[in-house]
């Protein structure tokens, strides 16, 4: 038997969660006060978990590296949050959300976890409205919805293009209430640099106070990692500059298995890169695909004319445009899932149809939506025989009301007016479905160490659907973890406070100090960013949108030698005892240099295509991803054995009782 026990409750799918909640142990209120829980990260998952645990009575210590919990990168999520409310009466249900999510993830997620996610999704919306989250509403005062990729219903709740911000501020306000009561002790500008294990259980962390440089030992009865994803391994991504894998990676090296590291999401609609100096990429929300149509020219000569500035895209006739998503996927059209849309863009650009100087851009065009909305608005306003200009102006107003902040963001970055000329977009790294392996209770393979939100692997399989990350983060934080953690902590009511000066703590502290000293004394010749950029290029070229055996082997070799070079030649200026952003980056990049190799190894091992993981050797005649269910219907969970290249693979078999495995089709 595998060492991995997912602890999925028995019984019918739809009763599992209810039954489980009734079966697990609970801690009585008086004892909760005596139990400490550390939460690392204050995004949707961490913020929600901290607030909920504190409300329940636990003593919570929350950590974030930013200057306030409100800055966590969940704040940048734009489009929306899914919930099976069926307010639009379009046949939505818990089962349909569950089905869409498992199918969208290309059948590489755990059924029981996804069903639970769909089940609690409706509570999230109720909860957030009660907290004062200002979701978009219709004139009748009820909540509005829109559609996202990979589904045929409207179940996405939103607050303009700032849904993540509003949800995070909701979680932050719930945290603030508990901080004010002293139930959460908040550690801003603190970074977790080591997990401490005592007697086989996670009992605390070592954190660096980023302002004073002090190394601190924090003990607790359990540790929750809600530290987000690892997309920044690619250097350029839509993640925040500070987003990193360090907390998760340190836990991995202490015994937490890392699951499906090669499952990364390349988001189809981002602003293309413009130069070598670029520090990050900016997402244009998937919600834009509700109204924007994606195309490239049909003829190469038009492509050249556009690149050379001789032809404006708005002058190209309809019949000379290739709306390739509508052509290839008539059923879902521009709203195919992200992995499909990204690959289709890459296919056109690789074939030479990219519309900017780098050849890596396609159009996202609002021209027809503007005219359609304009005509509608003219009708409503009672304007008879409106001119084309009037229609366009009215249409632009409608589009501005829907997507105004996104259009403004685009214009500020590119200096192009997207109301007048189509946006240029290209896929970019956005989200990581892989993460720390967790069981049904969200516990990692280290007892007492939990992982929530993007940091874990559990719900999105090989591809996440739009507006599902916010759902999962809040579901884990508000409604799952606060219950399941009690089952474990019930065994700790007589333990008493955990001392933070045991040999295990001292040893972990020493490891942290040693690494910091090593980095500062290295005195090499190249900056941290220099190595990070090179790592990003290797990852993008070989472990990006399309992967093959040869390329992956090459990537592994290149990452290994880059890692050696980093430790020989990196230069980290400044001191340990004070604010030192270069030192922070250096520690993070050191971890990315190990993770990158594991990602390539995992991608090499999984010689099937599924979701965001596309192996060129495994595709259908039409160029679609070809899964191999008989060989690969499992979760790869990697165990650290002392070297990134020597990780040991464990498999968690995925069984599908309530869904039939089918080749995914969006045609």
């Amino acid at each position: 038997m595998s060492v991995l026990d997912a602890k999925i409750p028995q019984g019918p799918l739809k009763d599992k969660w209810t039954k489980h909640k009734n079966d697990i142990n609970v801690v009585n209120p008086a004892n909760k006060r005596l139990i400490d829980v550390i939460v690392v990260g204050t995004g949707l998952a961490g913020g929600a978990a901290s607030a909920s645990l504190a409300e329940m009575g636990y003593s919570v210590k929350a950590f974030c590296f930013q200057d306030s919990p409100r800055r966590a990168h969940s704040i940048a999520a734009q489009g929306g949050i899914n919930a099976a409310k069926n307010y639009q009466n379009d046949g939505d249900s818990t089962y349909r959300l569950f089905y869409d999510t498992v199918k969208g993830g290309d059948y590489r997620a755990r059924e029981a976890n996804v069903y639970r996610l769909a089940e609690v999704s409706a509570n999230i919306i109720d909860q957030c409205v009660a907290q004062g989250v200002p979701f978009a509403r219709e004139y009748g005062g009820l909540l509005d919805n829109r559609s996202f990729g990979g589904v045929l219903v409207s179940r996405t709740f939103y607050a303009k293009g700032q849904t993540g911000q509003q949800l995070l501020l909701g979680a932050y306000s719930a945290m603030s209430r508990q901080i004010g009561k002293g139930k959460i002790k908040m550690y801003n500008r603190h970074e977790m640099l080591e997990l401490v294990i005592v007697g086989g259980k996670a009992r605390g962390i070592i954190a660096r106070n980023l302002v004073t440089g002090e190394i601190e030992r924090h003990s607790a009865h359990a540790v929750v990692l809600a530290s987000g994803g690892y997309g920044n391994v690619f250097f350029l991504s839509t993640n925040a500059m500070g987003s990193n894998v360090t907390a998760a990676w340190k836990a991995h090296k202490k015994g937490a298995y890392f699951a499906n590291p090669c499952f990364t999401q390349i988001h189809p609609t981002c602003i293309p890169r413009s130069g070598e100096y670029q520090s990050k990429l900016t997402l244009m929300s998937e919600s834009l695909r509700n109204d924007g149509r994606i195309w490239v020219p049909k003829k190469k000569e038009d492509v050249m004319a556009i690149r050379e500035g001789r032809l404006s895209p708005t002058d190209l006739r309809e019949e000379d445009r290739d709306y390739y998503l509508e052509r290839r996927y008539p059923a879902f059209g521009n709203l195919v899932p992200r992995d499909v849309a990204s690959r289709a863009a890459k296919e056109r650009c690789d074939a030479g149809y990219g519309v900017n100087d780098t050849g890596e851009a396609v159009y996202l065009d609002f021209g027809s939506a503007i005219m359609r909305y304009g005509k509608e608005k003219a009708m409503v306003d009672g304007i008879t025989n409106p001119t084309e200009d009037v229609i366009r102006e009215l249409g632009e107003q409608v589009v501005e009301a829907k997507y105004g902040n996104l259009f403004q963001m685009y214009e500020k970055i590119t200096d192009d007016n997207p109301y007048k000329t189509p946006m240029k977009i290209y896929p970019a790294v956005h989200y990581t479905m892989g993460g720390i392996w967790v069981d049904y209770n969200l516990m990692t393979t280290i007892p007492g160490c939990y992982a929530a939100g993007e940091a874990n692997f559990s719900d999105h399989g090989a591809n996440r659907l739009g507006a599902s990350a916010l759902m999962q983060g809040l579901a884990d934080g508000y409604f799952v973890l606060p219950y399941t953690i009690g089952d474990y902590l019930a065994g700790d009511i007589r333990t008493g406070a955990i001392p933070n000066d045991s040999p295990e703590f001292m040893e972990a502290e020493k490891q942290v100090r040693d690494q910091i000293e090593k980095l500062l004394k290295n005195n090499g010749s190249k900056s941290v960013d220099h190595f990070h950029r090179r790592l990003g290029k290797i990852m993008w070229d070989h472990v990006g949108m399309a992967r093959n055996g040869e390329g992956l082997k090459q990537a592994i070799a290149e990452i290994r030698s880059l890692r050696d070079e980093f430790w020989k030649d990196v230069r980290v200026p400044g001191k340990a005892n004070g604010l030192n952003p270069e030192l922070e980056k250096a520690g993070r990049v050191a971890d990315f240099l190990e993770l990158g190799e594991l990602m390539a190894l995992d991608a090499l091992h999984r010689s099937e295509s599924c979701g965001g993981h596309f192996r060129e050797e495994s595709q259908t005649d039409e160029g679609e991803a070809l899964r191999k269910d008989d060989e690969f219907a499992f979760v790869s969970a990697w165990e650290w054995t002392g070297d990134a290249g020597e990780a040991k693979l464990h498999k968690e078999e995925l069984t599908f009782n309530d869904i039939e495995l089918k080749q995914r089709s969006y045609k």
Binding site: H73, E138, S274
Partner: protein
């Protein structure tokens, strides 16, 4: 383009500050302002000097972490943007650019251009919330219809990113725009109305304790706010405060 940068540097919270001069060359107009500072920092690292510390994270104008007083304006010369969204096309070759941290007693300098804004967190902890537990057992989200105009106004107030530009730009270092945005959001929604009296009293009291100045209605905060938070929120907060002062039960 080639630029001269005059940057405020301070080694630590208690150190004395100074202005330093740096040159950067071959800056592309497509770069963001922070990418230009990245170029400077790469140069400094290459020379073995300590790079300039500045706060930043999402680099897409939403996290509120970046700050910077650029040529005497919070978030620089462009309107409706944060520093990370400011692009170098707003400057020209040969320009001298002055870069300073936010200035306010309630935002002490941590290092160089980094300031401590935890006073904002403490104001939030004093009342910037609805007291509802996260049990999920609330009523259905559509049980209380909210007029679209109220929901929209609440949303507009709620888009505040807590960057502190309003404080930095105000001659009194007042935090009224920040505090009023949260007070307004929650006062406009039925869910927040129950606690409105105590909320506004507690948040204002905390704001005063943190050492922020008062509002004299110059409106500079509204001009510099990257999210266009309206001065109307301050008026609404003043109404809320007055009403609360007269009607609050003393307990």
């Amino acid at each position: 383009m080639n630029l001269t940068l005059k940057i405020y540097r301070q080694d630590g919270p208690n150190a004395k500050g100074r202005m330093e001069t740096y040159q950067v060359a071959d800056i592309s107009e497509h770069m963001s302002f922070l990418e230009m500072l990245d170029v400077l920092n790469e140069q400094l690292v290459a020379k073995g000097e300590e790079p300039v510390a500045f706060d930043h994270d999402c680099r897409e104008g939403i996290c509120g972490m970046c700050s910077l007083y650029i040529n005497g304006e919070a978030h620089g010369p462009d309107r409706g943007v944060t520093t990370c969204q400011l692009h170098m096309r707003k400057f020209k070759d040969g320009d001298t650019i002055y870069i300073e941290p936010w200035r306010s007693k309630a935002f002490p300098v941590v290092k160089d251009l980094v300031v401590d804004r935890s006073s904002f967190d403490r104001i939030m902890a004093a009342g910037g919330f609805v007291s509802v537990n996260t049990s999920g057992n609330t009523q259905d989200a559509n049980a209380i219809p909210i007029p679209k105009t109220d929901a929209d106004k609440a949303f507009d107030a709620a888009t505040c990113i807590g960057c502190g530009a309003c404080v930095a730009t105000c001659k009194n270092a007042s935090a009224m725009l920040f505090v009023s945005a949260k007070v307004s959001q929650l006062a406009l929604l039925p869910q927040g109305k129950v606690e409105r009296t105590h909320r506004v009293l507690n948040m204002v009291e905390r704001m005063d304790k943190e050492g922020f100045g008062n509002c004299t209605n110059t409106g500079a905060c509204e001009v510099e706010c990257p999210k266009g938070i309206s001065l109307e929120n301050i008026a609404r907060m003043n109404r809320e405060y007055l009403k609360a002062s007269l009607t609050a039960d003393k307990d």
